[in-house]
Chain length 465, copies 2
């Protein structure tokens, strides 16, 4: 009886920590892209012991447990697929900076930006910068192994993890370091399907002291891709290297009238950073020359204010798209950089017959592209949206890419996973899942390809005994 | 019947690829620190398909499979603990550099240094620099997640892995990327106990253009540790930051008469690197000032030749120790940097009653310390050596450290693992092992704590169903 188990949990933890009313629980069924089912109960833990109690109550009730941070995710990772218990980490916000070790010890509910802000007082920073960093939490970032514009130079969330505290499917607490079997690494990006991350020890670095910015527009996708390749081949490692396609430029220009080049096929925004101004200037100069050589029209920001103005175009993509259609399916493919012109063109061609407005932007340094399908849920057929998203995923896979650059698989791309990984590797995923969560209670119906989609059983795990 | 299975394998692959004579197999039973048992057969694969055949032959014969690179490991990882098949990767040396992607695709047998040398032609480099990089292989480095002096600034082997090709316990081939469940990360550092890594896609970076070097000596361990802390707190990230204790200084000075300060309690060697000479100079100046403020006597190298002379002290540690006693047990603990003075002093005090000469050196930036117990296997009691090694490991654990910074656990520190990880985490290790290698044929008796050493059974995996 879930109700009685969660009633007991409420009595043990206190009424303020456990929500049981359907009206309250309703607010915990979605993330930024997907609606899930209403949870039976929501727990708001303040300590790791509260999480242990919650997991054990769900175990006793025989229902799923879904971890949730700020619910700003873009793949449905935190939206429950089945009725169960949601563990909302928003009150687990303890944060300590250890300047000598250059580490932050952050509970799962700490807001991403809070880590950088606390680190800054000690002359340090935490580089991973998902777009949602003002609201997203460290726990959610870890669950999806989130990236951001800075990840081309500085790496993704998982690259900054020294250790994790994790509560497993049985409510046991683990302290995972990165030696021996890297179980911490296995938890990162696993979307709460193998355990609940309750605390992370994160590596901090000294921030770059200087940043310079430029914007460039190109007459063709090929010219844009060639410009990026030339700049990178010349040894530059820009801190940010962002791409917008013609549709995206048009959407932002319609919205803000910034004077963006409507005739352009592609726009690039580049930050170069470092400690030495001359070195930063030298790097941006190489980038600038590579861009001009490829036919780009380049604008350099003369100061921080101009830099902010140039970046406004990129920052305004989300609200600009919201004006075109009320909803969007935000893809997150990553492909070898050399394939980008072809991939962008193929996806554009694919979308045309469907009639949905489609814009493309992303972190071009990593080949991480966000094709966004814009639609109106009151009018458009969700099947059609899903079909187009699926065909976009297939374009990525055909070009040697992967389904997710930084948003995770969640429920949104789960059905495509059977095409993304070999049968034997999918079977190994399931074998790991079955081992660490034999009852299948941790965030079911996420990330892993549906078992039925596998051609054969989990032979990796069982055939060899 | 192993003999007939391996005879068949020899007929299938060709006589040159499969060694069956005991005299030939004897050469494949050790690594740089440990003798194991003589393998029943040795296979020298040239392709991943050869590896598949080898694994299937071992499966049919019902005997273990142990992967082996250059056997330069320092924890017994490649020394077979049971009679079985050794897969020696020395002929799998295909290497491609993809300059556009900044990647190297290296088969397991590629020598570590060969990756950097091939990358250099394209203006790139591969930073991980284990001391054995002239002989060690990429496969061995991945198996132990090897580090080196550069890892404080640049990270360890695993930080450069984009994808792996792996042959599992059943002879199935996997192509593992770092998204979804990070099975590639799980393989790294698993010492061939979960699969055989046959090929790696490695990330390359532009090399730093300038390097400056200094050496500093200190009158006490505390002064040395304080100097390092001050330099790092000031925001410097030296490329290398190496430590030698008084006994180590004495051993090298006895050997080479370089004029090292025999009175010193500690010696530091520092490289600062970067693209901009002024920036590198500025960083080393901060380091220099921090060292002097802590009472260090500092010597700056004026040119590359002087830098090489300063580094000769560190490079000569191994031969210098070999002159004192013919054998050594090379520990590889890592502790929080702030604890180093205490840890070094405690280990020194521990060793005294045993009468073994003991020297300590290591990568102080990471808190990675190599206490070396020097002994004579003809005279000294191996039980005593092991007991001291165990007590040294316990010092590390007591100070919040780990058993291995860069050499792996192997057979050498396996018995200490039960003290290093919690029961529930050790059980999770075993649950993963049992899932991916149910017959226990992949490099048995390595890394994982002996099952008997666990207080309870693998409850993580089975209690919750």
């Amino acid at each position: 009886m879930p109700a009685s188990e969660f009633g007991q949990l409420q009595r043990r933890l206190g009424a303020g920590k456990v929500l049981l009313r359907p009206s309250e629980c309703s607010s915990y069924r979605y993330d930024a892209i997907q609606f899930g089912v209403r949870p039976l109960a929501v727990v708001l833990p303040e300590t790791v012991e509260d999480v242990v109690q919650a997991v054990r109550a769900a175990q006793a009730a025989g229902v799923p447990v879904v971890g949730r941070g700020a619910a700003s995710g873009l793949s449905g990772g935190a939206a429950p697929a089945q009725p169960g218990l949601v563990v909302s980490f928003t009150r687990m916000t303890a944060l300590r900076i250890l300047p000598q070790q250059r580490e932050a010890v952050a509970q799962a509910g700490v807001v991403t930006l809070a880590v950088s802000e606390a680190a800054r007082l000690h002359g340090l920073t935490y580089p991973p910068d998902p777009a949602s960093l003002r609201t997203s939490t460290i726990g959610g970032n870890l669950g999806e192994n989130a990236g951001g514009p800075l990840c081309f130079k500085y790496g993704v969330t998982g690259d900054y993890v020294r250790a994790l505290q994790v509560v497993d499917a049985d409510g046991e607490i683990h302290h995972l370091t990165r030696d021996a079997y890297d179980l911490a690494g296995l938890m990162i990006g696993s979307e709460g399907t193998l355990g609940l991350i309750t605390e992370a020890t994160l590596r901090l670095v000294p921030p770059a002291r200087h940043t310079l910015t430029l914007q460039a527009s190109f007459g063709s996708l090929e010219a844009c891709a060639a410009a990026v390749s030339t700049a990178i081949s010349a040894g530059t490692v820009p801190a940010k290297l962002e791409f917008m396609d013609a549709a995206c430029i048009g959407a932002v220009e319609d919205y803000l009238h910034l004077g963006l080049p409507r005739h352009a096929a592609a726009l690039l925004l580049v930050d170069s950073d470092g400690d030495d101004p001359a070195q930063v200037e030298a790097e941006l100069k190489v980038v600038e020359e590579a861009f001009r050589a490829a036919g780009g029209e380049v604008r350099r920001a003369r100061d921080a204010q101009e830099a902010a103005a140039l970046w406004q175009a990129r920052r305004s993509v989300s609200p600009a798209l919201g004006r075109i259609r009320p909803a969007r399916m935000n893809e997150d493919i990553a492909v070898p950089r050399s394939r980008l012109p072809q991939v962008v063109a193929e996806i554009q061609a694919l979308a045309e017959p469907y009639g949905f407005p489609l814009v493309q932007f992303g972190h071009i340094g990593d080949g991480n592209l966000h094709p966004n399908i814009l639609f109106d849920p009151r009018r458009d057929d969700p099947e059609q949206v899903h079909e187009l998203a699926h065909r976009i995923a297939q374009v990525a896979l055909r070009h040697g890419g992967v389904l997710s650059g930084e948003h995770g698989i969640g429920s949104m791309k789960r059905a495509f996973m059977a095409e993304a990984v070999d049968t034997q590797t999918a079977a190994a995923y399931w074998a790991i899942k079955d081992t660490l969560d034999p009852a299948g209670r941790l965030n079911p119906e996420k990330l892993l390809p549906p078992r039925g989609a596998l051609a054969t059983g989990p032979e990796v795990a069982h055939a060899g005994a």
